[in-house]
Amino acid sequence: MSACLTTPPTFDQPLLIAAKPGNIKLKVTGTVFFDPSQTDVITQDGAKIPFVCTALTLSFTAVAGATYFLEILHGGIMSNSEGFLQEDCDNPVTLATLSSANTAARYQVVVAAAAPGGTAKASA
């Protein structure tokens, strides 16, 4: 496990996930799964970036200063399934609720710009 790179959204910006640069691996817990062939990670221009999506994980490399959109299509094993999107890291927190009440989700990931000296600061 590694330190978390993401910060969960807030009520004022409920679809915005702030992140630090690096390889971000997300997971869904509960009884919900991703539809890998209909899940995308795209830039603001709509271009796809390389990512790996399985039924329960989604990982991609976040570049400093970039903004991405996670376009997630998900299903559930039951009609009232519920799952939680979390980063696969130490002490993960819930970034979003993915339930069978909804099907498609679109979250924005804003990656902090690299700070002088090589460190990055996450900001919303």
Binding site: F11, F33, N80
Partner: protein, 527 residues
């Protein structure tokens, strides 16, 4: 095709246990989800509650909420046709692909086949139609003719829930048609014998055998549903192949993205804050009602009544309809996928209507049970077969009861061993079949026209039926299939012994050795 479609839909709507909808009803899981978020929020405006009130995080529920403002009362089929025309999906309106082209029943079967409610396979001269009852509402949902109760419900439409489809799927059917030249045999007899005449009057008699068998199955006890681990494993096993679910079209994707842009409108942000505050201030259990009352305000936030774009509301509703059609179909396809992962039925009742060539028709009722214990799969069944008409009294010992059957099989899967061995995914099975032929097997014969594959000598010209000896039939079979490791090659070896068959009273031994290769493995690759 339009009238055919209407007929098919009407038949299904009359027959199916579908739920009518009140004008302001919603996707039923939205209130559940909202209540869960309110409970988790504990009086504070959380990100999850905020996301529920956006298209990016709660697209289905936001769509359902806005569609309550849709005041159209078009009939179901008109609405479906509008949706289909708008989405330019009317690709199934061609003709000439159906199995049978005339007659009411064939038209319904034809439409069902074309819309995916049943499957048609052809092997040699036999065409087999098969399907399950749930396939019909599922096909209607995929074609946007009805809504999915578990998806987004459009006011004025009927819907079928995934649970209803799953219940209907307990009943399945198979009908086999003989389309070959043997489907009808014609025999003739001269009316008079006048040897000198060059022309004779002949009376013809035709025997048709178009339907060779029909089977209906009802699953009494279903196997366990797949859990999330088994479902995820099945998805990941697909590799780069897409899940067998409805794919979002470009137009639907564009609608979804356009809807997401509304989230950033200042008026919509204000609506979100006000709605969240009202929901959190509502009495316990009243959150969904408060949310529902905010639908008009949301539509006004997106499309102000006196705004600059007079077509705004129409544009929004088109986007909502496009997304709703996708969601309803997608959820039906996800449900179908998950159901395919369900374990084998535990108890099944089966009815077979058999019309074998040159034999009297008979019916068989069979009860099939199966259970899995570790690596063992144990299957047992019992059946009773009866003739559909009383056999001729000229056949000694013949009665309506044709035979009684009992069978049992035990199969072991070596891949279930705790330690992997050289046996890999090999399986070993043994089976025993018992049949008490209480009434002789009967063959219908026509003088001068022998039964295909059977040679009978010394038969009187007046004979119309022949029969075999009744008695006990025992069949024992053992089979071992060697499938090493993850190889796609398997080597089955089997032997079969029987003391007799229905017609032949001599014991028989048979051995079989084969080799098979799973070509699907060539096309499936891991990521």
């Amino acid at each position: 095709m339009k009238s055919l479609l209407r007929l098919f839909a009407q038949l299904v709507l009359v027959a199916g246990p579908l739920a009518a909808q009140t004008p302001r009803s919603l996707a039923k899981h939205c209130p559940e989800e909202l209540n869960a978020e309110v409970t988790r929020a504990a009086g504070k405006p959380t990100a999850e509650l905020g996301a529920f009130l956006t298209f990016g995080g709660g697209a289905d529920c936001m769509t359902a909420l806005l569609l309550t403002q849709y005041s159209g009362t078009d009939s179901l089929l008109d609405r479906a046709q509008q949706v289909k025309a708008a989405l330019q999906q009317n690709s199934s309106s061609g003709s000439g692909t159906s199995l049978v082209s005339k007659g009411l029943t064939s038209q319904v079967l034809s439409a069902a086949a074309e819309y995916g409610a049943l499957a048609q396979t052809t092997s040699g001269q036999t065409v087999t139609l098969s399907g399950s009852l749930g396939g019909i509402p599922a096909a209607l949902t995929r074609q946007a003719l009805i809504d999915n109760c578990d998806g987004i419900r459009i006011p004025g439409a009927l819907c079928a829930s995934n649970a209803t489809v799953n219940r209907l799927n307990r009943l399945s059917y198979t009908v086999a048609f003989n389309t070959g030249s043997t489907a009808q045999s014609v025999s003739g007899a001269a009316a008079a014998t006048t040897p000198t005449s060059t022309a004779q009057v002949v009376t013809f008699n035709a025997t048709t055998n178009t339907i060779t068998s029909a089977t209906g199955k009802f699953v009494i006890l279903r196997g366990a549903a797949a859990n999330i681990a088994a479902t995820a494993a099945a998805i990941d096993k697909l590799g780069t192949k897409p899940m067998p679910t409805t794919q979002m079209t470009k137009a639907q994707k564009d609608s979804f993205v356009a809807m997401n842009n509304y989230d950033n409108m200042p008026a919509v942000k204000t609506w979100r804050s006000q709605t969240a505050a009202k929901i959190l201030a509502a009495p316990p259990g009243d959150a969904a009602n408060v949310w529902l009352q905010q639908a008009d305000a949301l539509l006004s936030a997106i499309c102000p009544p006196n705004g600059p774009n007079p077509k705004c509301r129409a544009t929004v509703l088109t986007q909502l309809g496009s997304y709703a059609v996708f969601v309803n179909s997608y959820k039906a396809s996800v449900n179908a996928f998950v159901e395919t992962l369900r374990k084998s039925p535990l108890l099944t009742l089966e009815y077979d209507y058999n019309r074998p060539a040159s034999q009297p028709t008979n019916s068989t009722v069979r009860l099939v049970g199966q259970t899995v214990l570790g690596g063992w799969t144990l299957t047992g069944n019992g059946a009773v077969s009866v003739y559909d008409s009383t056999p001729s009294s000229a056949i000694p010992g013949a009665s309506l009861l044709r035979d009684v059957q009992i069978a049992a099989e035990a199969c072991y899967d070596f891949s279930k061993l705790k330690k992997s061995t050289l046996l890999g995914h090999s399986t070993a099975s043994t089976a025993y079949y018992f049949q008490n032929q209480t009434s002789p097997a009967i063959l219908n014969v026509t003088p001068g026209q022998p039964v295909t594959g059977v040679t009978i000598t010394g038969l009187p010209a007046t004979a119309t039926q022949v029969y075999a000896q009744k008695g006990i039939i025992s069949i024992l079979q053992g089979k071992f299939t060697y499938s090493p490791g993850s190889s796609s090659i398997s080597l089955p070896v089997s032997f079969t012994w029987s003391n007799r068959t229905e017609l032949v009273t001599n014991p028989t031994w048979r051995g079989q050795v084969g080799i098979s290769y799973d070509f699907d493995s060539l096309f499936g690759s891991s990521k």
